[in-house]
């Protein structure tokens, strides 16, 4: 979208400079000296985008709110929107502030992409534990295997505050073993594949936390941008790459210190031949090589970054229109990238750095981490599709032949599939905006049919199996306020863990099986013969 540059008065510039000293209001460029832009940044930006351009919630600016009545916008802000993540601000913000906010939003264009440079990132590094040698040598709590840890991104009702945290659970006992406050909603949790003690958590305002799982505390943090969900860890655990929607860049960090090493401006020629500046889609490290792959959402390109001197980039163009997320197979040598706008998933060979094939998906494919299972000698990939349309399916592909096996009919749009080598079903979350959103459907790996629907409650999403495959964890999100645990075989409900607005669930076991559904042995075998099959 075109951004509008305005001339700032000297007084505004002074205020802007003052604001820049405060990391959170850095982006609030006051136009009339009012406190409203800062209120927006503090209360709304983590969901609606620091640039008013939308993030996990719709864009709120002069363009998108054109023709809307101030009264209805005010009522909505006050009471929230039922069955969505939009919280009620009644009692949290004064009526005058709510009026001020909606008038401001209705009158203000989407803001220009702000600068957040390597220097800004560097200056934002915070050190909580100076001397890491003082950390305990093993977990300070009872756990048989660190892979049994499951991390849940608890959003908190307002997307910020006390309810916003990363909650770590022992998936054998279903007890909480640690809670890490994240300021704004925790969004993604990733683990160091080389050293079991480190976890990385990114929140909705693009802050990244390095967590010591043994002592359950934050060791360091860094602000990588203003909004942006993507995060990857390299196979040797030495590098992290984080990408943003605001601004349009990505950064490689030293995983140990969180010091930034290189930033990348995300821009390129899209499949329609236009030069565009792009949001960062998924970023992924792979057991296959010392690389990161990053999807440029709007440019429709996947970049492969080599983790060596200068971090050179190989651009793979024409991957699709509006890329989003992806998953790996074949020892991490093949990458399956979802493209929203053309309803395909594009298979990429990370060895040759070429497109293998574009495979048909359902409507608006959102693979959400994907699943890969070995059944009867075939390697099957499962992809969810979150569009609500005539054809509501979960796509199943043969990843050796790279062809569609089946489009499995399900009851609605889906966002994320979960599978495990030892569990019989692939679980998919139905997210269509009505009672179906309470449910998760289970697809039998062999028959590729839906065999059961679980009524989980809340807005049920992000299913995830425990590392041993015995338990299925599901977030009863939005107002459900609990994570529900099922037995993977009997599908009996066996535990519930209370937390505010739980969302993404991330098993530490993922570092062993790379993509959910594969067995760890398979990964070792494939790694051994360099992913060739």
């Amino acid at each position: 979208m075109k951004t509008i540059k305005r001339n700032l008065s000297p007084a505004t510039l002074t205020r802007l400079a003052a604001a820049l000293l405060l990391p959170f209001s850095a982006f609030a460029a006051p136009t009339d000296g009012s406190k409203i832009p800062a209120l927006y940044q503090e209360n709304c930006a983590s969901c609606h985008g620091a640039d008013l351009g939308g993030f996990i919630a719709p864009a709120l600016n002069a363009d998108t709110l054109k023709g809307r009545s101030l009264t209805s916008l005010r009522t909505l802000t006050m009471a929230g929107s039922f069955d969505t993540l939009m919280p009620p601000f009644y009692g949290r913000l004064a009526d005058d502030d709510i009026r001020g906010l909606v008038s401001y939003l209705k009158a203000t264009p989407k803001q220009a992409n702000p600068a957040w440079t390597l220097e800004d990132i560097k200056a934002s590094v915070k050190v909580y534990v100076k001397d890491e040698s003082t950390l305990p040598a093993k977990p300070t709590y009872q756990i048989d295997d660190i892979n049994n840890i499951i991390g849940v991104a608890a959003r908190g009702k307002y997307g910020r505050g006390e309810g916003s945290k990363a909650v770590f659970i022992n998936s054998v006992t279903h007890q909480v073993i640690g809670e890490i406050p994240t300021g704004t909603a925790a969004h993604i949790i990733d683990y160091d594949p080389a050293n079991p003690r480190w976890a990385y958590v990114k929140n909705d305002s693009a802050e990244l936390f390095k967590i010591d799982l043994y002592s359950m505390q934050i060791v360091r943090s860094v602000k990588t941008g203003f909004n942006g969900p993507s995060l990857g860890v390299s196979r040797d655990g030495k590098y992290i790459m984080a990408g943003s929607y605001v601004p349009h860049n990505a950064v490689i960090l030293d995983a140990n210190t969180l010091e930034p090493l290189k930033t990348f401006e995300l821009e390129g020629i899209d499949p329609d031949g236009k030069q565009v500046s792009s949001d960062s889609g998924m970023i992924i490290g792979t057991p296959f090589a010392d690389i990161f792959a990053i999807a440029l959402e709007n440019a429709g390109q996947v970049w492969v970054v080599d983790l060596k001197e200068g971090f050179p980039v190989t651009r793979i163009e024409n991957v699709g229109r509006h890329l989003h997320d992806a998953f790996l197979s074949h020892g991490g040598s093949k990458l399956m990238v979802a493209s929203y706008d053309d309803s395909i998933v594009t298979a990429i060979d990370l060895k040759d750095r070429k497109i293998i094939k574009k495979l048909e998906a359902g409507c608006v494919p959102h693979v959400g981490g994907g699943s890969v299972v070995e059944v009867d000698g075939r390697t099957l990939g499962f992809g969810t599709n979150f569009g609500d349309c005539d054809k509501m399916v979960v796509s199943v592909w043969d990843l050796d032949k790279m062809e569609v096996v089946k489009q499995v009919p399900v009851s609605g749009g889906t966002e994320s599939p979960a599978a495990h080598a030892n569990a019989p079903y692939v679980a998919v979350d139905i997210i269509s905006k009505d009672r179906r959103a309470r449910t998760v459907q289970l697809i039998d790996k062999k028959s590729l049919e839906v065999v059961k629907t679980l009524d989980v409650g809340g807005h049920a999403y992000f299913p995830e199996y425990s590392a041993d495959g015995k338990f299925l964890y599901i977030s009863a999100g939005y107002n459900g306020d609990e994570v529900v645990v099922y037995d993977s075989n009997s599908l009996e409900k066996i535990a519930s863990i209370a937390m505010e607005s739980p969302a993404g669930i991330f098993s530490h076991g993922r570092v062993r099986y790379m993509t959910r559904g594969l067995s760890p042995d398979e990964l070792t075998k494939r790694d051994g013969d360099k992913g060739a099959k």
Partner: protein, 104 residues
């Protein structure tokens, strides 16, 4: 004055579905899920929210509070708008749901 008429309109649809042969508390739960939990939580309100907790409260109190919001003898823009469309049955059901919750 009903400055939040719009909100009533918004919630009317959600509040006026019929519990089909369901247990009374289940009917109450359905409504709590659909509407009340947005502010008061399914079990408890957000730690960051300014809304009163309803779980485990006295049944008679909850019922009378809701009746008062409905007839506007107790004044609060939001609750007046929300309770305005509740039937006596709704009030009993929802109150029974929240009163029956155990606070952990």
């Amino acid at each position: 004055m009903n400055r939040l008429a719009l909100l009533s309109a918004l919630t009317l649809g959600l509040l006026s579905f019929n519990p089909v042969n369901a247990a009374v508390i289940y009917a109450g739960k359905e409504k709590a899920i659909a509407v009340c939990s947005h502010c008061h939580g399914m079990i408890k309100p957000s730690v960051d929210a300014p809304f009163p907790s309803l779980a485990g409260r006295d049944l008679t109190y909850l019922k009378s509070a809701l009746a008062q919001y409905r007839d506007k003898t107790r004044k609060n823009d939001l609750m007046n708008a929300l309770a305005g469309s509740l039937t006596d049955n709704d009030i009993s059901n929802i109150a029974a749901y929240y009163a029956g919750l155990k606070i952990k």
